[in-house]
Protein backbone atom coordinates (compact mmCIF):
# COMPACT_ATOMS: atom_id res chain seq x y z
CA UNK A 1 0.00 0.00 0.00
CA UNK A 2 1.15 3.49 -0.79
CA UNK A 3 0.76 6.03 1.98
CA UNK A 4 -0.16 9.64 1.18
CA UNK A 5 -0.38 12.53 3.61
CA UNK A 6 -2.70 15.31 2.44
CA UNK A 7 -2.73 18.92 3.67
CA UNK A 8 -5.49 19.75 6.14
CA UNK A 9 -7.68 21.57 3.58
CA UNK A 10 -7.70 18.55 1.31
CA UNK A 11 -8.32 16.10 4.14
CA UNK A 12 -11.41 18.13 4.97
CA UNK A 13 -12.51 18.21 1.35
CA UNK A 14 -12.00 14.46 0.94
CA UNK A 15 -13.45 13.78 4.40
CA UNK A 16 -10.52 11.71 5.56
CA UNK A 17 -8.52 11.78 8.74
CA UNK A 18 -4.86 10.98 8.95
CA UNK A 19 -3.02 9.28 6.12
CA UNK A 20 -4.58 7.82 3.01
CA UNK A 21 -3.55 4.33 1.89
CA UNK A 22 -3.82 3.49 -1.77
CA UNK A 23 -3.39 0.47 -4.00
CA UNK A 24 -1.34 1.55 -6.99
CA UNK A 25 -1.14 -0.59 -10.12
CA UNK A 26 2.24 -0.91 -11.82
CA UNK A 27 5.16 1.38 -11.22
CA UNK A 28 4.85 3.79 -8.31
CA UNK A 29 5.26 7.30 -9.70
CA UNK A 30 3.74 10.71 -8.93
CA UNK A 31 1.42 10.09 -11.86
CA UNK A 32 0.22 6.65 -10.77
CA UNK A 33 -0.19 7.70 -7.14
CA UNK A 34 -2.18 10.83 -8.04
CA UNK A 35 -4.28 8.84 -10.51
CA UNK A 36 -5.13 6.36 -7.75
CA UNK A 37 -5.77 9.16 -5.27
CA UNK A 38 -8.17 10.98 -7.61
CA UNK A 39 -9.97 7.74 -8.52
CA UNK A 40 -10.65 7.10 -4.87
CA UNK A 41 -11.40 10.73 -3.99
CA UNK A 42 -12.83 12.43 -7.11
CA UNK A 43 -13.39 15.67 -5.20
CA UNK A 44 -9.60 16.13 -5.15
CA UNK A 45 -9.44 16.42 -8.93
CA UNK A 46 -8.01 19.81 -9.84
CA UNK A 47 -6.85 20.64 -6.32
CA UNK A 48 -3.36 19.15 -6.57
CA UNK A 49 -2.78 19.24 -10.32
CA UNK A 50 -4.53 20.64 -13.35
CA UNK A 51 -7.28 18.36 -14.59
CA UNK A 52 -6.28 18.66 -18.24
CA UNK A 53 -2.52 19.17 -18.32
CA UNK A 54 -1.83 17.27 -15.06
CA UNK A 55 0.63 20.01 -14.21
CA UNK A 56 1.24 20.38 -10.47
CA UNK A 57 -0.42 23.46 -9.03
CA UNK A 58 2.11 26.16 -8.25
CA UNK A 59 1.53 26.17 -4.50
CA UNK A 60 1.51 22.43 -4.00
CA UNK A 61 4.69 20.50 -3.26
CA UNK A 62 5.54 16.81 -3.02
CA UNK A 63 7.94 15.70 -0.27
CA UNK A 64 9.13 12.27 0.86
CA UNK A 65 11.98 11.07 3.02
CA UNK A 66 13.16 14.61 3.64
CA UNK A 67 13.49 15.27 -0.09
CA UNK A 68 11.59 17.68 -2.34
CA UNK A 69 10.22 15.63 -5.23
CA UNK A 70 8.10 18.45 -6.66
CA UNK A 71 10.29 18.95 -9.68
CA UNK A 72 10.90 15.30 -10.49
CA UNK A 73 9.27 14.10 -13.73
CA UNK A 74 5.71 12.90 -12.98
CA UNK A 75 6.45 9.50 -14.49
CA UNK A 76 9.74 8.97 -12.61
CA UNK A 77 9.69 6.17 -10.02
CA UNK A 78 9.14 7.44 -6.49
CA UNK A 79 11.76 6.44 -3.88
CA UNK A 80 11.70 2.80 -2.76
CA UNK A 81 10.67 3.88 0.73
CA UNK A 82 7.45 5.36 -0.73
CA UNK A 83 6.86 2.46 -3.10
CA UNK A 84 7.23 -0.03 -0.24
CA UNK A 85 4.94 1.92 2.08
CA UNK A 86 7.72 2.62 4.53
CA UNK A 87 7.45 6.38 4.01
CA UNK A 88 4.42 8.46 3.02
CA UNK A 89 4.33 10.78 0.03
CA UNK A 90 3.54 14.14 1.57
CA UNK A 91 1.40 16.55 -0.43
CA UNK A 92 2.07 19.93 1.10
CA UNK A 93 0.64 23.39 0.57
CA UNK A 94 3.55 25.76 0.04
CA UNK A 95 4.48 28.07 2.88
CA UNK A 96 3.46 31.01 0.71
CA UNK A 97 0.00 30.77 -0.71
CA UNK A 98 -3.17 32.68 -0.97
CA UNK A 99 -4.41 35.20 -3.43
CA UNK A 100 -3.27 36.61 -6.70
CA UNK A 101 -1.45 33.46 -7.53
CA UNK A 102 -1.14 31.70 -10.86
CA UNK A 103 -3.68 28.94 -11.30
CA UNK A 104 -1.16 26.32 -12.30
CA UNK A 105 2.55 25.79 -12.04
CA UNK A 106 4.48 27.06 -15.01
CA UNK A 107 7.17 25.04 -16.71
Amino acid sequence: MIRVVLPAHLRTLARVEGEVSLEVDGEVTQLSVLDALERRYPMLRGTIRDQVTHRRRAFVRFFAGGEDLSHEPPDAPLPDAVASGQEPLRVVGAMAGGRGTPATARP
Partner: protein, 371 residues
Amino acid sequence: MSAIRVLVGTRKGAFVLTSDGKRERWETSGPHFGGWEIYHVKGSPADPDRLYASQSSGWHGQVIQVSKDGGRSWEPAGNKFVYDGVPGTHQWYDGTPHPWEFARVWHLEPSPTDPDTVFAGVEDAALFRSTDGGQNWTELSGLRGHDTGSSWQPGAGGMCLHTILLDPRTPGRMFVAISAAGAFRSDDEGRTWRPVNRGLRSEQIPDADAEVGHCVHRIAMHPARPSVLFMQKHWDVMRSDDAGLSWTEVSGNLPSDFGFPIDVHAHEPDTVYVVPIKSDHEHYPPEGKLRVYRSRTGGGEWEALTRGLPQSDCYVNVLRDAMTVDSLDPCGVYFGTTGGQVYGSRDGGDSWAPIVRDLPAVLSVEVQTLP
Protein backbone atom coordinates in the same frame (compact mmCIF):
# COMPACT_ATOMS: atom_id res chain seq x y z
CA MET B 1 -44.46 32.98 8.83
CA SER B 2 -41.80 33.64 6.29
CA ALA B 3 -38.11 33.28 7.04
CA ILE B 4 -34.91 34.85 5.81
CA ARG B 5 -31.67 33.12 4.98
CA VAL B 6 -28.60 35.26 4.29
CA LEU B 7 -25.72 33.54 2.50
CA VAL B 8 -22.36 35.12 3.19
CA GLY B 9 -19.11 34.36 1.37
CA THR B 10 -15.90 35.47 3.08
CA ARG B 11 -12.16 35.23 2.64
CA LYS B 12 -12.08 32.28 5.03
CA GLY B 13 -15.34 30.42 4.68
CA ALA B 14 -19.11 30.66 4.19
CA PHE B 15 -21.70 31.58 6.79
CA VAL B 16 -25.45 31.13 6.77
CA LEU B 17 -27.49 33.62 8.81
CA THR B 18 -31.13 32.83 9.47
CA SER B 19 -34.04 34.67 11.01
CA ASP B 20 -37.79 34.58 10.99
CA GLY B 21 -39.70 37.20 9.07
CA LYS B 22 -39.33 39.76 11.82
CA ARG B 23 -35.60 39.94 11.05
CA GLU B 24 -34.77 40.80 14.64
CA ARG B 25 -32.91 37.74 15.91
CA TRP B 26 -30.35 35.96 13.82
CA GLU B 27 -28.58 32.66 14.08
CA THR B 28 -25.21 32.12 12.47
CA SER B 29 -23.98 28.81 11.14
CA GLY B 30 -20.46 28.34 9.87
CA PRO B 31 -17.77 28.65 8.92
CA HIS B 32 -18.53 26.23 6.15
CA PHE B 33 -15.40 25.35 4.13
CA GLY B 34 -13.29 27.16 6.74
CA GLY B 35 -10.01 28.52 5.43
CA TRP B 36 -11.15 28.66 1.81
CA GLU B 37 -12.17 31.81 -0.05
CA ILE B 38 -15.88 31.72 -0.74
CA TYR B 39 -16.45 34.17 -3.55
CA HIS B 40 -20.18 33.52 -3.81
CA VAL B 41 -23.06 31.47 -2.44
CA LYS B 42 -26.47 31.64 -4.07
CA GLY B 43 -29.73 29.73 -3.84
CA SER B 44 -31.92 28.51 -6.66
CA PRO B 45 -35.15 30.50 -7.05
CA ALA B 46 -36.76 27.28 -8.30
CA ASP B 47 -35.76 25.27 -5.23
CA PRO B 48 -34.63 27.39 -2.27
CA ASP B 49 -32.97 24.40 -0.60
CA ARG B 50 -30.59 24.09 -3.54
CA LEU B 51 -27.53 26.24 -2.90
CA TYR B 52 -24.39 26.64 -4.96
CA ALA B 53 -21.08 27.85 -3.51
CA SER B 54 -17.81 28.83 -5.13
CA GLN B 55 -14.91 27.69 -2.95
CA SER B 56 -11.33 28.42 -3.94
CA SER B 57 -7.83 28.87 -2.66
CA GLY B 58 -4.49 29.94 -4.00
CA TRP B 59 -3.14 26.53 -3.05
CA HIS B 60 -5.81 24.21 -4.36
CA GLY B 61 -7.80 26.12 -6.94
CA GLN B 62 -11.50 25.88 -7.55
CA VAL B 63 -14.13 23.69 -5.89
CA ILE B 64 -17.88 23.94 -6.41
CA GLN B 65 -20.09 22.90 -3.50
CA VAL B 66 -23.78 22.08 -3.75
CA SER B 67 -26.31 21.80 -0.94
CA LYS B 68 -29.73 20.23 -1.37
CA ASP B 69 -30.94 20.99 2.14
CA GLY B 70 -30.56 24.72 2.48
CA GLY B 71 -26.93 24.66 3.57
CA ARG B 72 -27.03 22.05 6.32
CA SER B 73 -24.93 19.64 4.27
CA TRP B 74 -22.80 20.09 1.18
CA GLU B 75 -21.29 17.90 -1.51
CA PRO B 76 -18.43 18.85 -3.84
CA ALA B 77 -19.61 19.01 -7.46
CA GLY B 78 -17.69 19.40 -10.72
CA ASN B 79 -14.81 21.83 -10.88
CA LYS B 80 -13.51 21.28 -14.40
CA PHE B 81 -13.71 24.66 -16.10
CA VAL B 82 -12.04 24.29 -19.48
CA TYR B 83 -12.22 27.05 -22.07
CA ASP B 84 -13.76 26.05 -25.36
CA GLY B 85 -11.15 25.53 -28.11
CA VAL B 86 -7.81 27.31 -28.09
CA PRO B 87 -8.29 30.12 -25.58
CA GLY B 88 -6.06 32.73 -27.22
CA THR B 89 -5.01 35.90 -25.47
CA HIS B 90 -6.41 39.01 -23.84
CA GLN B 91 -4.57 42.18 -22.83
CA TRP B 92 -2.40 42.08 -19.75
CA TYR B 93 -2.12 45.06 -17.38
CA ASP B 94 0.72 46.47 -19.44
CA GLY B 95 -1.12 46.08 -22.73
CA THR B 96 0.76 43.00 -23.92
CA PRO B 97 -1.08 39.83 -24.97
CA HIS B 98 -1.63 37.32 -22.16
CA PRO B 99 -3.08 33.82 -22.44
CA TRP B 100 -6.51 33.17 -21.01
CA GLU B 101 -6.08 31.22 -17.74
CA PHE B 102 -8.84 30.02 -15.46
CA ALA B 103 -8.40 31.28 -11.89
CA ARG B 104 -11.72 31.04 -10.04
CA VAL B 105 -15.49 31.37 -10.13
CA TRP B 106 -16.62 34.81 -9.02
CA HIS B 107 -20.37 34.48 -9.37
CA LEU B 108 -22.92 31.68 -9.57
CA GLU B 109 -26.35 32.48 -11.00
CA PRO B 110 -28.91 29.70 -10.68
CA SER B 111 -31.69 29.50 -13.26
CA PRO B 112 -35.04 30.90 -12.11
CA THR B 113 -36.85 27.81 -13.36
CA ASP B 114 -34.54 24.79 -13.14
CA PRO B 115 -32.61 23.96 -9.96
CA ASP B 116 -30.06 21.95 -11.96
CA THR B 117 -29.15 24.81 -14.28
CA VAL B 118 -26.64 27.35 -13.05
CA PHE B 119 -24.35 29.87 -14.74
CA ALA B 120 -20.84 30.63 -13.54
CA GLY B 121 -18.92 33.83 -14.19
CA VAL B 122 -15.20 33.18 -13.99
CA GLU B 123 -11.75 34.77 -14.03
CA ASP B 124 -10.23 35.02 -16.64
CA ALA B 125 -13.52 36.31 -17.94
CA ALA B 126 -15.83 33.71 -19.38
CA LEU B 127 -19.31 32.37 -18.85
CA PHE B 128 -19.97 28.70 -18.11
CA ARG B 129 -23.22 26.79 -17.68
CA SER B 130 -24.10 23.56 -15.96
CA THR B 131 -27.42 21.80 -16.58
CA ASP B 132 -26.77 18.89 -14.22
CA GLY B 133 -26.57 20.54 -10.84
CA GLY B 134 -22.97 21.70 -11.15
CA GLN B 135 -21.41 18.37 -12.10
CA ASN B 136 -20.31 19.37 -15.62
CA TRP B 137 -19.56 22.82 -16.97
CA THR B 138 -19.62 24.04 -20.57
CA GLU B 139 -18.37 27.40 -21.71
CA LEU B 140 -20.76 29.70 -23.58
CA SER B 141 -17.83 30.71 -25.70
CA GLY B 142 -19.60 33.19 -27.93
CA LEU B 143 -18.90 35.75 -25.23
CA ARG B 144 -15.16 35.29 -24.91
CA GLY B 145 -15.01 34.76 -28.66
CA HIS B 146 -16.47 38.18 -29.33
CA ASP B 147 -14.36 40.21 -31.76
CA THR B 148 -13.23 42.44 -28.93
CA GLY B 149 -12.12 39.59 -26.61
CA SER B 150 -8.43 39.98 -27.34
CA SER B 151 -8.58 43.61 -26.15
CA TRP B 152 -10.17 42.95 -22.74
CA GLN B 153 -7.92 43.66 -19.79
CA PRO B 154 -7.97 42.89 -16.06
CA GLY B 155 -9.28 45.24 -13.43
CA ALA B 156 -7.46 45.48 -10.11
CA GLY B 157 -9.16 42.29 -8.90
CA GLY B 158 -8.32 40.30 -12.01
CA MET B 159 -10.19 39.90 -15.30
CA CYS B 160 -13.40 38.62 -13.82
CA LEU B 161 -16.92 38.06 -15.04
CA HIS B 162 -18.72 39.09 -11.87
CA THR B 163 -22.30 39.91 -12.81
CA ILE B 164 -24.89 37.69 -14.50
CA LEU B 165 -28.46 38.99 -14.89
CA LEU B 166 -31.12 36.75 -16.42
CA ASP B 167 -33.97 38.80 -17.90
CA PRO B 168 -37.21 37.35 -16.51
CA ARG B 169 -39.38 38.96 -19.22
CA THR B 170 -37.54 38.47 -22.50
CA PRO B 171 -36.78 34.82 -23.27
CA GLY B 172 -33.12 34.22 -24.01
CA ARG B 173 -31.94 37.64 -22.86
CA MET B 174 -29.14 37.91 -20.36
CA PHE B 175 -26.55 40.46 -19.30
CA VAL B 176 -23.05 39.99 -17.97
CA ALA B 177 -20.42 42.44 -16.79
CA ILE B 178 -16.66 42.06 -16.88
CA SER B 179 -13.87 44.04 -15.25
CA ALA B 180 -12.46 45.61 -17.29
CA ALA B 181 -14.27 44.95 -20.53
CA GLY B 182 -17.74 46.25 -19.75
CA ALA B 183 -21.31 45.06 -20.07
CA PHE B 184 -22.52 42.56 -22.67
CA ARG B 185 -25.98 41.39 -23.69
CA SER B 186 -27.16 38.20 -25.31
CA ASP B 187 -30.63 37.74 -26.79
CA ASP B 188 -30.17 34.07 -27.69
CA GLU B 189 -29.46 32.33 -24.37
CA GLY B 190 -25.80 33.18 -24.39
CA ARG B 191 -24.80 32.00 -27.85
CA THR B 192 -23.94 35.43 -29.25
CA TRP B 193 -23.17 38.67 -27.49
CA ARG B 194 -22.93 42.38 -28.10
CA PRO B 195 -21.14 44.96 -25.96
CA VAL B 196 -23.66 47.36 -24.38
CA ASN B 197 -21.48 50.21 -23.18
CA ARG B 198 -22.60 53.25 -25.19
CA GLY B 199 -22.57 56.28 -22.93
CA LEU B 200 -19.88 54.99 -20.57
CA ARG B 201 -16.78 57.15 -20.30
CA SER B 202 -13.55 55.88 -18.74
CA GLU B 203 -10.49 58.09 -18.65
CA GLN B 204 -8.25 55.10 -17.89
CA ILE B 205 -8.46 53.82 -21.49
CA PRO B 206 -7.07 55.43 -24.64
CA ASP B 207 -10.51 56.17 -26.09
CA ALA B 208 -12.72 57.15 -23.18
CA ASP B 209 -15.88 56.26 -25.16
CA ALA B 210 -14.62 52.95 -26.52
CA GLU B 211 -16.97 50.05 -27.23
CA VAL B 212 -15.19 47.90 -24.60
CA GLY B 213 -12.56 48.39 -21.90
CA HIS B 214 -14.76 49.89 -19.18
CA CYS B 215 -14.41 48.68 -15.62
CA VAL B 216 -18.02 47.95 -14.81
CA HIS B 217 -18.27 46.96 -11.15
CA ARG B 218 -21.89 45.85 -10.96
CA ILE B 219 -25.22 45.95 -12.78
CA ALA B 220 -28.65 45.59 -11.19
CA MET B 221 -32.21 45.37 -12.47
CA HIS B 222 -35.68 45.15 -11.00
CA PRO B 223 -37.30 41.93 -12.23
CA ALA B 224 -40.56 43.71 -13.06
CA ARG B 225 -38.77 46.20 -15.29
CA PRO B 226 -35.73 44.46 -16.76
CA SER B 227 -35.17 46.94 -19.57
CA VAL B 228 -34.02 49.46 -16.95
CA LEU B 229 -30.52 48.74 -15.69
CA PHE B 230 -28.46 50.46 -13.04
CA MET B 231 -24.68 50.29 -13.05
CA GLN B 232 -21.93 51.10 -10.60
CA LYS B 233 -18.90 51.66 -12.79
CA HIS B 234 -15.33 52.10 -11.51
CA TRP B 235 -16.27 55.75 -11.39
CA ASP B 236 -19.84 56.89 -12.23
CA VAL B 237 -23.27 55.51 -11.45
CA MET B 238 -25.16 54.91 -14.69
CA ARG B 239 -28.67 54.08 -15.85
CA SER B 240 -29.99 52.52 -19.03
CA ASP B 241 -33.63 52.63 -20.11
CA ASP B 242 -33.18 50.51 -23.21
CA ALA B 243 -31.74 47.24 -21.93
CA GLY B 244 -28.19 48.48 -22.08
CA LEU B 245 -28.14 49.99 -25.56
CA SER B 246 -27.35 53.41 -24.10
CA TRP B 247 -26.42 54.72 -20.68
CA THR B 248 -26.66 58.07 -18.92
CA GLU B 249 -24.92 59.13 -15.76
CA VAL B 250 -27.08 59.41 -12.63
CA SER B 251 -24.36 60.04 -10.03
CA GLY B 252 -26.04 63.33 -9.12
CA ASN B 253 -25.22 64.50 -5.61
CA LEU B 254 -23.29 61.42 -4.44
CA PRO B 255 -20.22 62.36 -2.36
CA SER B 256 -18.20 59.99 -4.57
CA ASP B 257 -19.39 58.10 -7.59
CA PHE B 258 -16.75 55.40 -7.13
CA GLY B 259 -18.00 52.20 -5.51
CA PHE B 260 -18.71 48.56 -6.04
CA PRO B 261 -22.25 47.30 -5.30
CA ILE B 262 -25.57 48.58 -6.58
CA ASP B 263 -29.00 47.11 -5.99
CA VAL B 264 -32.68 47.86 -6.48
CA HIS B 265 -35.50 47.82 -3.90
CA ALA B 266 -37.68 44.71 -4.13
CA HIS B 267 -40.95 46.60 -4.59
CA GLU B 268 -39.93 50.03 -5.91
CA PRO B 269 -38.13 49.79 -9.26
CA ASP B 270 -36.87 53.36 -8.99
CA THR B 271 -35.36 52.95 -5.54
CA VAL B 272 -31.66 52.21 -5.86
CA TYR B 273 -28.86 51.70 -3.34
CA VAL B 274 -25.12 52.32 -3.64
CA VAL B 275 -22.23 52.60 -1.19
CA PRO B 276 -19.93 55.46 -2.20
CA ILE B 277 -16.23 54.77 -1.76
CA LYS B 278 -13.68 57.57 -1.72
CA SER B 279 -11.58 56.59 -4.72
CA ASP B 280 -9.97 53.80 -6.69
CA HIS B 281 -6.87 54.10 -4.52
CA GLU B 282 -8.63 54.68 -1.22
CA HIS B 283 -11.03 51.78 -0.94
CA TYR B 284 -12.89 53.17 2.06
CA PRO B 285 -15.88 55.46 2.61
CA PRO B 286 -15.46 59.24 2.32
CA GLU B 287 -14.79 60.96 5.66
CA GLY B 288 -14.65 57.61 7.48
CA LYS B 289 -18.48 57.47 7.44
CA LEU B 290 -20.15 54.30 6.24
CA ARG B 291 -23.16 55.55 4.32
CA VAL B 292 -25.52 53.77 2.01
CA TYR B 293 -27.03 56.19 -0.48
CA ARG B 294 -30.57 55.68 -1.67
CA SER B 295 -32.22 57.23 -4.67
CA ARG B 296 -36.00 57.10 -4.97
CA THR B 297 -35.93 58.71 -8.36
CA GLY B 298 -34.03 56.09 -10.30
CA GLY B 299 -30.76 57.91 -9.75
CA GLY B 300 -29.75 61.56 -9.89
CA GLU B 301 -31.00 62.51 -6.42
CA TRP B 302 -29.50 60.58 -3.53
CA GLU B 303 -29.97 60.61 0.24
CA ALA B 304 -27.48 59.36 2.81
CA LEU B 305 -28.67 56.49 5.02
CA THR B 306 -26.66 56.56 8.22
CA ARG B 307 -28.82 55.44 11.14
CA GLY B 308 -27.09 52.49 12.80
CA LEU B 309 -24.00 52.67 10.58
CA PRO B 310 -20.61 53.86 11.91
CA GLN B 311 -20.21 57.57 11.23
CA SER B 312 -16.62 58.02 12.30
CA ASP B 313 -13.33 56.23 11.81
CA CYS B 314 -14.80 53.61 9.48
CA TYR B 315 -12.46 52.47 6.72
CA VAL B 316 -14.00 49.27 5.41
CA ASN B 317 -15.00 48.52 1.84
CA VAL B 318 -18.16 46.92 0.47
CA LEU B 319 -17.41 44.63 -2.46
CA ARG B 320 -19.47 44.28 -5.61
CA ASP B 321 -21.35 41.09 -4.75
CA ALA B 322 -21.84 42.04 -1.11
CA MET B 323 -25.22 43.82 -1.21
CA THR B 324 -28.68 42.38 -1.70
CA VAL B 325 -32.37 42.85 -0.91
CA ASP B 326 -35.03 40.48 0.39
CA SER B 327 -38.60 40.50 -0.88
CA LEU B 328 -40.50 41.07 2.35
CA ASP B 329 -42.50 44.23 2.91
CA PRO B 330 -40.92 46.49 4.03
CA CYS B 331 -37.96 45.49 1.93
CA GLY B 332 -34.86 44.27 3.75
CA VAL B 333 -31.45 45.44 2.54
CA TYR B 334 -28.22 43.69 3.48
CA PHE B 335 -24.55 44.32 2.88
CA GLY B 336 -21.23 42.97 4.13
CA THR B 337 -17.93 44.74 4.65
CA THR B 338 -14.28 43.90 4.35
CA GLY B 339 -14.21 44.42 8.13
CA GLY B 340 -16.41 41.36 8.57
CA GLN B 341 -19.71 43.01 9.48
CA VAL B 342 -22.98 42.14 7.82
CA TYR B 343 -25.49 44.95 8.23
CA GLY B 344 -29.19 44.59 7.68
CA SER B 345 -32.06 47.02 7.37
CA ARG B 346 -35.68 45.98 7.93
CA ASP B 347 -37.11 49.24 6.64
CA GLY B 348 -35.73 49.77 3.18
CA GLY B 349 -32.55 51.37 4.45
CA ASP B 350 -33.92 53.92 6.93
CA SER B 351 -32.11 52.20 9.79
CA TRP B 352 -29.43 49.56 10.06
CA ALA B 353 -28.03 47.09 12.57
CA PRO B 354 -25.25 44.56 12.35
CA ILE B 355 -26.60 41.02 11.97
CA VAL B 356 -23.15 39.68 12.69
CA ARG B 357 -19.80 41.33 13.16
CA ASP B 358 -16.21 40.09 13.17
CA LEU B 359 -16.49 37.59 10.33
CA PRO B 360 -13.56 37.34 7.92
CA ALA B 361 -13.66 39.96 5.15
CA VAL B 362 -16.99 39.61 3.36
CA LEU B 363 -16.86 38.89 -0.36
CA SER B 364 -20.53 38.30 -1.11
CA VAL B 365 -23.98 38.51 0.45
CA GLU B 366 -27.12 36.93 -0.97
CA VAL B 367 -30.51 36.56 0.66
CA GLN B 368 -33.35 34.09 0.30
CA THR B 369 -36.89 34.97 1.33
CA LEU B 370 -38.40 31.66 2.36
CA PRO B 371 -42.11 30.85 2.74
